[in-house]
């Protein structure tokens, strides 16, 4: 029923849509074709040809790369097979002492590094910060999620993946 033009969705994604219109979209029922328009807008934005299947971060996508499905940064850098935790192939900054934590909390209280550390996952090619996680020291790197792409496309979008 509800549907917006691709231009509107592009402005929504870019954050340039005027607020009253953004709010109307927020308050209305979800537009049926939003996902595919959203993907199309993202596809226009990235500089590579692989088909985006699912965005997993602001600048991070699972895409079809030949026979493979890989997690790819907006810059084109590949983190490998999407079923594997992409974070393991990222550049990581671990903030586990007072000095390093102070860099990001210059004016406020700090978390206790004996209880919590902050890990930043960065694209080794373009330097985009893709994800930040806070975990207890020694806790393995969190695998955020492994999407069921086939099931999502077939059952939720009604358009099975070839």
């Amino acid at each position: 029923m509800t549907s917006y033009s691709k231009e509107v969705i592009a402005e929504l994604v870019a954050g340039t849509l005027p607020w009253p219109q953004t709010r109307r979209i927020m308050s209305a029922y979800k537009d049926d074709d939003r996902f595919f328009k959203y993907i199309a807008v993202l596809q226009d934005r990235v500089g590579w040809k692989d088909k985006i299947l699912l965005p997993v971060g602001d600048h991070l996508f699972i895409c079809q790369s030949g026979e493979e499905r890989v997690t790819r940064c907006e810059c084109g850098h590949s983190f490998g097979d999407y079923r594997r935790n992409w974070k393991l192939r990222a550049a990581i900054i671990v903030r586990d002492n007072e000095e390093l934590l102070r860099e990001i909390y210059p004016n406020s209280d700090l978390p206790d590094p004996a209880w919590m550390e902050i890990r930043e996952f960065i694209c080794p090619e373009c330097g985009t910060l893709h994800e930040v996680e806070a975990a207890a020291p020694g806790y393995p790197i969190v695998h955020d999620f492994e999407p069921d792409l086939e099931g999502f496309y077939r059952e939720w979008l009604g358009r099975p993946l070839e």
Binding site: M1, W19, R23, R24, M26, S27, A28, Y29, D32
Partner: protein, 717 residues
């Protein structure tokens, strides 16, 4: 409006015009209480066009020319939307602000509720939709100056005048149109604000600039700095264009021979000239007319407990008069800014004939609005480009609206088009027949309004059987039956002039001024006689000062001193409470302990009336939070004509039959012309009573009785 010329009636004496968001309504009244109404689309760019078109429509209905209309009337009342539009479209003046150092971010922070006020309940719950209104002054044109006055009015830090000079020069260099000044606790002691204004004016004069200076204590010396700030900003921001619009209305009236000044309506229910010094007090005026009209009708029918309900295209407004008491809202919202302008209290829900209907394809959940199709593009049946089905389309599909007589035939309703779109977008999605779906939608709207009425009444703590419901607005009578069913009102009344009832209400108002100031007077429960005398002296001296100011303003407006009546009032609460009640003072001055006790008794009486007798709590002591004076001067008012009841058969108003879908089935409904109904007539449902500007649906089993004032009483079967 194509109504036959009024024969045998005299010259109108009052023109009341109410420009709403979509339509400008006019009502003409003569000395014998005859009415004619006119309607035209509101023209926000130049309101005088819509004003004139609407007046011409009414003049035509009366059968006279615009020249003879304007040269003959004594009062032209106009309540418009110019200032509100200036605010909504953010097209006002360029402002600068000087405030107490440390409060510079007050504008950006605002009040939390300003981020979600006016939102639907669902959006309120979803904080992601919350958003503060666009500020009227950017942070870079806000300057803090060192000074501090405490809550008792004592100067804690002196004013650093060099800060003020620097700020003023900076704002002049920024080419602002106006400088606003708001310092904390200026309502207790305005010394610093006055001095800042002086310095600013000096600097402006030195620079040879044309910049106005506004101070918050002059706009309204009342506690709560955020509301006081918003009031002074909006006064500075929006009123110049509003004043220009009002001047335009006056000029147009004068070219057609009007001899006096145009009057406009204050949010607390009085009239003032368009030269009113605090014009933002006229911003929330449109719906206020309805409450005034209700009070007037209440006097006629001898019931002082009334609920007035106004249903238009977008909203359903409810006002309450409980045993003669109207409620004053002291901090109303205007475009989501909290102001401190006293306003007659209204409850509003989103419910109107223009509401867009939506059905969620996944869950088949139906929702109404909150968006409204307005008048442009309007419902589908208007055939002006609307594509979303609305309640009005349902009314047309079910035969409740006459496709050939909407706005007297000016708009021909395209029922087939509405039906096709409604079937595709709503009925088929839900999986039921078109009529059943359409009636279901209407029932949902009416149930929303019905629940809102019940909620408002239960808040009064009085049984519904004490209240008379007055229903008006373009779509009020159309949905009256469903809105009022099962509540058990004492009486339900609608009007031949329902579509212009707010404009009618404006014509019943008097000229008025309301001056008040915040106070902090705490009277212990066991205060001695000597203490009471002292309290009384303080109260009296403030009243005297306010009376002088109010009377001077009215004299300046051209009212004779002997015609001006003044009544002092107090805002009081039991010490420690959060809300106060408005008490009309029983005495004009308090000169003894006995007098002070009389005032306290008056407060307790009002408190018991508004709440309940057992909720009085004198042991806590009494606090006077605000003292004020209302000055009024009489104006000629319309009178409704009382005529003897005739025979009950309404055949003389009968104009045909039409199929209408009511209560789950099609009926042959009798059609009546509303203006032809006479006192004594009784119309039995199923019937539809039509007027060019409104439609009253009488459901099967229900009845409408026309009384001696030609008011229409709706009786549920």
């Amino acid at each position: 409006m194509s109504v036959s010329p009024a024969t045998g009636i005299s010259q109108p004496i009052v023109i009341g015009i109410d420009a709403g968001g979509t339509m400008t309504d006019t009502i003409l009244v003569d000395a014998d209480g005859h009415f004619k109404i006119g309607k035209s689309a509101t023209t926000p760019k130049d309101e005088s066009e819509g004003f004139l078109a609407s007046a011409e429509d009414a003049a035509e209905a009366w059968g006279i020319s615009l020249e003879s209309l304007f040269s003959g009337v004594g009062v032209v009342l106009y309540s418009g939307t110019g200032m509100l539009n200036t605010l909504l479209s953010r097209t006002g003046r360029k402002l600068g602000l000087i405030t107490t150092k440390g409060l510079e971010d007050m504008i950006l922070m605002g009040r939390g509720l300003q981020a979600w006020a006016d939102y639907s309940y669902a959006d309120r719950l979803h904080a992601v939709t919350h958003h503060h209104p666009e500020p009227l002054v950017p942070r870079r044109r806000t300057h803090g100056v060192t000074e501090r006055i405490d809550q008792f009015g004592d100067i804690v830090l002196p004013l650093y005048e060099h800060d003020v000079h620097a700020a003023a020069r900076k704002l002049i260099a920024d080419k602002v149109d106006a400088i606003c000044i708001m310092t904390i606790f200026s309502h207790v002691n305005p010394t610093h604000e006055k001095r800042i204004a002086e310095i600013c004016r000096d600097e402006v004069a030195k620079a040879g600039a044309d910049i106005l200076v506004y101070t918050s204590h002059e706009v309204r010396p009342v506690i709560r700095e955020q509301s006081r700030l918003n009031s002074v900003l909006i006064e500075a921001y929006a009123t110049s264009r509003g004043r220009r619009q009002l001047k335009g209305i006056e000029d147009v009236s004068k070219t057609y021979g009007f001899k006096y000044g145009v009057q406009t309506l204050l949010s607390f229910g009085g009239l003032t000239s368009i030269n009113h010094p605090r014009l933002h007090e006229t911003m929330i005026s449109g719906p206020i007319g309805g409450i005034l009209g209700a009070a007037y009708v209440g006097k006629l029918i001898g019931n002082d407990s009334l609920i007035c309900s106004d249903m238009g295209g977008t909203s359903f407004d409810m006002g309450v008069i409980t045993r003669g008491q109207t409620r004053i809202e002291n901090e109303p919202l205007m475009d989501r800014f909290k102001l401190n302008v006293p306003t007659l209290h209204l409850d509003t829900i989103g419910a109107g004939a223009g509401m867009i209907l939506k059905v969620d394809p996944l869950t088949r959940k139906v929702s109404l609005g909150p968006e409204s199709a307005g008048s442009d593009p309007g419902p589908i049946c208007f055939a002006k480009g609307g594509t979303e089905p609305t309640i009005a389309d349902c009314d047309a599909i079910l035969g409740r609206l006459n496709p050939d007589y909407f706005l007297g035939g000016k708009v021909r309703l395209q029922v087939d088009r509405a039906r096709a779109a409604f079937k595709e977008k709503c009925a088929d999605v839900i999986g039921v027949g078109v009529e059943e779906a359409a009636e279901g939608m209407i029932e949902m709207l009416e149930a929303d309004a019905n629940n809102a009425l019940r909620r408002v009444i239960s808040g009064q703590g009085i049984h519904p059987s004490e209240f008379t419901l007055l229903s008006y607005g373009g779509s009020g009578p159309l949905h009256l039956a469903g809105c009022s069913r099962g509540i058990g009102f004492k009486d339900i009344i609608t009007f031949q002039f329902a579509a212009a009832f707010s404009a009618f209400g404006c014509t019943t108002a008097d000229f008025m001024r309301r001056h008040s100031v915040s106070t902090q007077i705490d009277i212990g429960a066991k205060a001695s006689d000597g203490a009471l005398v002292d309290f009384g002296a303080r109260v009296t001296s403030i009243w005297n000062e306010l009376t002088r100011a109010a009377v001077d303003e009215m004299i300046e407006d051209g009212h004779a001193r002997e015609k001006i009546r003044t009544v002092p009032f107090l805002m009081m609460r039991y010490t420690g409470q959060l809300e106060d009640v408005e008490v009309m003072a029983p005495l004009s001055s308090v000169s003894s302990a006995g007098d002070m006790r009389t005032v306290i008794e008056a407060f307790e009486a009002v408190y018991a009336k508004v709440n309940h007798r057992v909720s009085r709590y004198g042991e806590a002591g009494y606090s006077i939070t605000e003292l004020g004076v209302i000055a009024t001067a009489d104006k000629v008012k319309p009178i409704l004509v009382r005529r003897p009841l005739g025979k009950s058969d309404p055949a003389s108003a009968h104009k045909g039959v039409r199929d209408a879908y009511l209560g789950g089935g099609w009926h042959r409904a009798n059609l009546y012309e509303m203006d032809d109904l006479q006192p004594g007539h009784e119309v039995s449902g199923p019937a539809i009573i039509e007027h060019p500007a409104t439609t009253l649906v009488v459901h099967p089993g229900d009845q409408v009785f026309v009384d001696e004032w030609t008011l229409l009483h709706y009786r549920h079967g």
